[in-house]
């Protein structure tokens, strides 16, 4: 199992897309440094908003789903397409174990990458700045480090839930990438932002639910969503429990599928 875990990480680092996703992850840093260079004096509210928009809107809502889509689709699919899955499925491992070990390795790797991006985003925003001198953002005391910890805490859950959904889609759909894009657009971009109850079925909303609980004033970023934020906070809906449920259900279904479905691409030419 350890051999497969290490191998999955090693092979992921050999793919071009991991460097592409890493570049995407540090893109918000550029977007943070640029205004700091252009206008060194900022207001407390502006700086606070800018930081949380970069983290929430860019990293958690856009880049994270995109990287999970790319790597989730390839988790089993890339080896099935190359034919190398045959080596993994004809050894002393159950099919579901192969999936789970690869999944765990990918969650670890992507979590480290996102945490790294969050750290450099934090450094790029707050390094060399005496935030206290800027005043109180939205009337609250500055808590940048505890806010960073909240983001770091939610990251593994966010990675695992997105990744598990995209792995499941790759096992169900005949055109996984197309199906994943459709899922991301319809569920995570459209339904997640509807001010009606259906948004609770999106991962985006659940991540937002966790961070809103931990970071005071974060809901001010989503003025138009205040009603729905209040709704799930009051009803105690969503959050880590919901993300955990998404991960669990997706993984159970994925394990069931890999254990019962043929995964290798078989050449059929005798008609």
């Amino acid at each position: 199992m350890r051999a497969l875990f290490n191998f999955t990480i090693r092979q992921t680092f050999c793919q071009k897309k991991i460097w592409f996703t890493l570049l995407l992850l540090i893109l918000p840093v550029g977007l943070t440094l640029l205004p700091r260079i252009l206008s060194p004096t900022q207001s407390a509210n502006k700086m606070w908003n800018h930081y949380h928009i970069q983290v929430n809107s860019f990293i958690f809502m856009m880049i994270l789903p995109l990287m999970c889509m790319l790597h989730g689709n390839a988790l089993i699919g890339a080896d099935a397409e190359k034919g190398t899955l045959a080596y993994l499925l004809t050894r002393k491992l159950k099919r579901s174990k192969v999936l789970l070990v690869k999944f765990a390795a990918m969650v670890l790797l992507l979590t480290i990458m996102v945490c790294f991006a969050l750290l450099i985003q934090y450094i790029a925003t707050f390094a060399g700045v005496n935030v206290e001198s800027l005043g109180k953002p939205h009337g609250q005391v500055w808590q940048p480090f505890s806010e960073l910890l909240a983001y770091l805490f939610v990251t593994p859950f966010a990675v695992a839930s997105y990744l598990s959904i995209f792995v499941l889609i790759s096992l169900v759909a005949s055109r996984p990438l197309m199906a994943s894009i459709m899922y991301a657009v319809i569920v995570e971009m459209f339904l997640a932002n509807l001010p009606v109850g259906i948004h609770v079925y999106s991962i985006t909303h659940q991540i937002r639910a966790v961070t809103v609980k931990w970071i005071p004033n974060l809901s001010s970023l989503y003025q138009e969503f205040t009603e729905m934020q209040d709704e799930f906070i009051v009803n105690n809906h969503g959050g880590i429990g919901a993300l955990g449920a998404i991960i669990l259900v997706s993984l159970v279904l994925s394990c069931l599928l890999v254990s019962t479905r043929e995964l290798t691409v078989t050449k059929v030419d005798n008609d």
């Binding site: 499925l89 050894r91 290798t264 030419d269």
Partner: protein
């Protein structure tokens, strides 16, 4: 005692039939699975390796169904067809990694990998990335990974593909050497590749088992096959009318204005007769050659014959 047992196995891929009601038992030693491209060999290999499921029927490998069965799969060494590789890793890492997946600890995996690599004569190149290997080297490193966990059964899907004649001969020698310790099922679309390795042959074509047994009995079955002789000359109908009285000739066709196809079960006699007629008749002959000596034609004959006998027994 059988190591592989297939009972009325059928496999459909949508509308396409991959295997058709195949019942066969494979015993110890080296067994060759021979058939033309698209015969269903890889489907059969996939079923044996638990990679695909039968649409109908039952399969047992080492007395257990292979699908999602690590206990059985850990006793089989599999060498898949084609070039399925992680090209960036070295041959040694590849074999060592798969040894690790077979349940060995790091030290045992290293030792087993080095031993398997040495057996396949890849020690000198083991630290190079697989992407830089020749076709023959890739075949050998695939065989090394199949041997690394000391399996009871080796399943080799088209292991000779891409190897040059020298490499083929070396591989055949390697397999013969391994046969003392491990049972081997090897597939090929070229009969003579496996002739020197084993006498146990399974011939499949169009998803059906068309012949089974030792090479001698297969040759005997093929001996009764009607041969087709192609004669290219200026006036084929003249020669056709001269041959029509011969009992040994079972059919005559003129597919083009300069070609005559003669069907016979006694080709030697017909060749003699044609020569005599040509000399006596002063005909302008450009070619006399067998038209169906390739393996596809042999498979075609055996398939049609078995199909006809199956149909007649069904009636």
């Amino acid at each position: 005692m059988s190591i592989i047992k297939l009972d009325a196995i059928s496999k459909w891929y949508g509308e396409v039939l991959g295997l058709n009601n195949l019942t066969v038992t494979i015993g110890h030693g080296i067994t060759a699975l021979v058939g033309p491209n698209g015969a269903g060999k890889s489907t059969l290999m996939g079923l044996i390796m638990g990679q695909i499921k039968p649409s109908k029927g039952a399969i047992q490998v080492l007395s257990q169904p292979p699908w999602n069965n690590p206990h059985v799969l850990s006793q089989i060494g599999y060498c898949p067809e084609g070039d399925p590789f992680w090209m960036n890793i070295t041959g040694r890492y590849f074999v060592r990694f798969l040894a690790g997946l077979s349940g060995m600890n790091r030290r045992a995996a290293n030792l087993a990998a080095d031993e398997a690599i040495e057996r396949t004569d890849m020690t000198r190149d083991m630290n190079r990335p697989i992407g830089t290997y020749s076709k023959g080297m890739r075949q050998r490193i695939k065989i090394a990974q199949a041997l690394v966990h000391k399996p009871k059964l080796l399943v080799l899907d088209e292991p000779f593909t891409g190897a040059d004649p020298v490499a083929r001969s070396e591989l055949a020698t390697l397999f013969r050497g391994l046969a003392d310790q491990v049972d081997i099922l090897v597939s090929s679309h070229v009969l003579h590749e496996v002739e020197g390795m084993t006498q146990q042959i399974l011939m499949i074509a169009r998803g059906r088992l068309v012949a089974t047994g030792d090479l001698r009995s297969l040759r005997r079955q093929m001996h009764h096959r009607p041969h087709i002789i192609r004669v290219r000359l200026d006036h084929p109908r003249n020669l056709a009318s001269a041959l029509s009285s011969l009992d040994a000739v079972s059919g005559l066709r003129v597919p083009s204005p300069d070609t005559l196809l003669v069907e016979t079960t006694q080709p030697d006699m017909v060749y003699d007769r044609i020569h005599n007629l040509l000399i006596a008749g002063n005909m302008n002959v450009r070619e006399i050659a067998p038209a169906d000596e390739n393996l596809e034609a042999v498979f075609g004959y055996l398939t049609d014959r078995n199909g006809a006998s199956a149909d007649s027994s069904a009636n």
